[in-house]
């Protein structure tokens, strides 16, 4: 075998970049003969641009981003693959103290136990504002092509709130969310950890529901790979997927949470206190000061086939993109989304034909209103 392969990967400092960071720093990549060179970026736009010109071979990406690239959306789209899922869940929907207090008044105690009851409480606040002739609430997400955006909209619409009409939806970088919430620039946000936790820790707001509850075990971040790189370096990619699966299993083990939090809290990584990372890792969130809630599958790095891409999830994400006008609806588009999430490379690397959990029809079984 030749010497180690060199892979350049970009990431955005969020809790769900853990698998890439652990692979690079805990020797998982090295064991598989891969030298993984990580570069931190401050925006998804820059990750996309560096992938576009080939400065990165692969990157930590929002699940809809490779689909958007393959659909030719946005600047510099290059053909991409999502051969592995890096994380499921992990996002919290956080509202300002003022909105949370109105929700308290409008809804029975414990409304945050389910997305449906939290949605009813939120819809009641929106209705009140309309009746009082107040301006629509402003909610922020991290990127248009993100599960944050699509899950938030799905939850709002299912609760009877019309995005863009009843509430405004804007885009803000995650680290700015807590301060924007505290300062009144936004009334709520959906962002990946640790930013919901930090907003609560800074007393800026409350977590009213989470992505894991809106769409349980939905893909949040994927390994986005330039298709050209995948075609030219099949063995390297295979080794990388194996290394990342090793790292994912390590990240998912509660025994390693503290070590992982220590690794991620470093100034050159996520650069936040370990105490801001542990709640997300353990799925025990401080939803309001002093109030804790255990959320099942809040942040999933591995287990139960979590890392294997599922074409049905690709198609579902595409349907969300078309639902909200980010992409025109077509059979060709649906096929592109399906192929982007093909498990072929994953299965080849992991030496098996893993199966995706059975889901009837096109709506993922993990949606909170799947039974409706």
């Amino acid at each position: 075998m030749a010497g180690p392969s060199f892979v350049r990967a970009g990431y955005v400092p969020l809790l769900d970049s853990a698998v890439l960071i652990a692979a690079a720093e805990k020797g998982f990549a090295e064991e598989r003969g891969v030298v993984l060179s990580l570069q931190r970026e401050t925006s998804w736009a820059t990750v996309r641009d560096r992938i576009g010109v080939g400065q990165f071979d692969c990157a930590h990406m929002l699940a809809p981003m490779p689909i958007a690239a393959n659909l030719g959306l946005g600047p510099l789209p290059v053909p991409m693959l999502a051969p592995m899922v890096l994380a499921l869940g992990g996002n919290g929907i956080t509202v300002s103290n003022a909105v949370a207090e109105t929700m308290d008044r409008c809804a029975p105690e414990g409304f945050d136990e389910t997305p449906a009851s939290a949605g009813r409480a939120f819809a009641a606040v929106v209705r009140r504002r309309v009746e009082a002739g107040e301006a629509p609430l402003r909610l922020a997400v991290v990127h248009p092509h993100s599960s944050h955006n699509y899950d938030l909209r799905y939850w709002l619409a299912a609760s009877g709130v019309v995005p863009e009409k009843d509430v405004e939806i804007t885009v803000l970088p995650p680290p700015l969310m807590p301060d924007a919430l505290a300062g009144g620039g936004i009334d709520g946000f959906c962002a990946g950890e640790p930013w919901a936790t930090i907003a609560v820790q800074r007393r800026a707001g409350r977590i009213v529901t989470s992505r894991a509850e809106i769409w349980r075990r939905g893909p949040e971040k994927v390994l986005g790979v330039r298709r050209a790189f995948a075609e030219e370096n099949p063995e390297t990619l295979s080794s990388l997927v194996m290394a990342l699966c090793d790292a994912a299993a390590w990240c998912a083990d509660p025994e390693n949470f503290e070590t992982l939090a220590g690794l991620l809290s470093a100034p050159e990584r996520i650069d936040v206190a370990e105490a801001a990372l542990m709640p997300g890792l353990a799925g025990r969130l401080e939803t309001a000061p002093g109030r804790f809630r255990q959320i099942a599958d809040f942040m999933v790095f591995a287990g139960g086939g979590a890392n294997r891409p599922d074409p049905r999830h690709g198609r579902w994400l595409y349907r969300q993109m078309t639902r909200w006008g980010d992409a025109p609806s077509s059979d060709a588009g649906l096929r592109i989304a399906d192929e982007t999430f093909s498990p072929t490379l994953f299965d080849a690397a992991m030496g098996g034909t893993g199966t995706n959990s059975p889901e009837a029809g096109e709506r993922p079984a993990g949606l909170f209103d799947a039974e409706d």
């Binding site: 401050t42 736009a45 641009d49």
Partner: protein, 196 residues
């Protein structure tokens, strides 16, 4: 003759932005505005209606800006510079230098090119400058540490300055390390043992 272009520069590095601004002005672009903080940026863009927006690639607000360009009905829709994919070398050079640019849809490419080239060359010049500065600082630090290592050796081994330096150099050659590294490990070992 076409209208003069309005250029907006978004960069939180004040030194760099003033260097670029100066360059653009010298090149005859009179309508250059600089924003170093993103607070109120969207309003600023609506007010200025720039033809070209140059943004530092590391600016964390790029996702927000691109979203704003997508949905805004107020400003003429600016497109990422890279939408014109014909000039791959230029795009790569821009990203390498840390420059992203957005131009109002329909604006002629020839009119933008010199602006982007200016931004790229000045971005590169500034990073070269700061790299040189960092190198100069570490060189100075290295020289200081070598002096301390020499002092330690002179005292411990009863050598003169030239002899101490020779010993450092020989060790570095034997161990295939830089003399600064040898000096640094000697100083840290000596500090650990106390009595400095």
């Amino acid at each position: 003759m076409s209208q003069p272009l309005t250029i907006l520069l978004v960069d939180d590095n004040g030194l760099r932005s003033s260097i670029i601004e100066e360059g653009l002005r010298e090149a005859g672009y009179g309508n250059v505005s600089v924003v170093t903080t993103v607070a109120g940026l969207v309003k600023r863009i609506e007010m200025l209606e720039p033809d070209v927006i140059v943004v530092d690639l590391e600016n964390p607000n790029r996702d927000q800006l691109e979203h704003f360009f997508q949905v805004s009905r107020v400003v003429k829709r600016p497109m990422a510079m890279f939408v014109d994919r014909s000039d791959t070398a230029e795009i790569e050079a821009a990203i390498e230098a840390g420059v992203s640019a957005y131009v109002v849809d329909g604006l002629k490419k020839e009119r933008i090119k010199p602006i982007l080239e200016m931004a790229i060359s000045r971005f590169n010049a500034v990073s070269r400058l700061s790299r040189e500065l960092a190198e100069a600082r570490s060189e100075l630090a290295e020289r200081k540490i070598i002096d301390r290592a020499k002092g330690i050796l002179m005292k411990a081994k009863k050598l003169d300055e030239a002899g101490a330096y020779k010993l450092l150099r020989r060790t570095a050659m034997n161990e295939n390390r830089r003399i600064g590294e040898v000096a640094a490990s000697l100083v840290s070992a000596y500090t650990l043992l106390g009595d400095d």
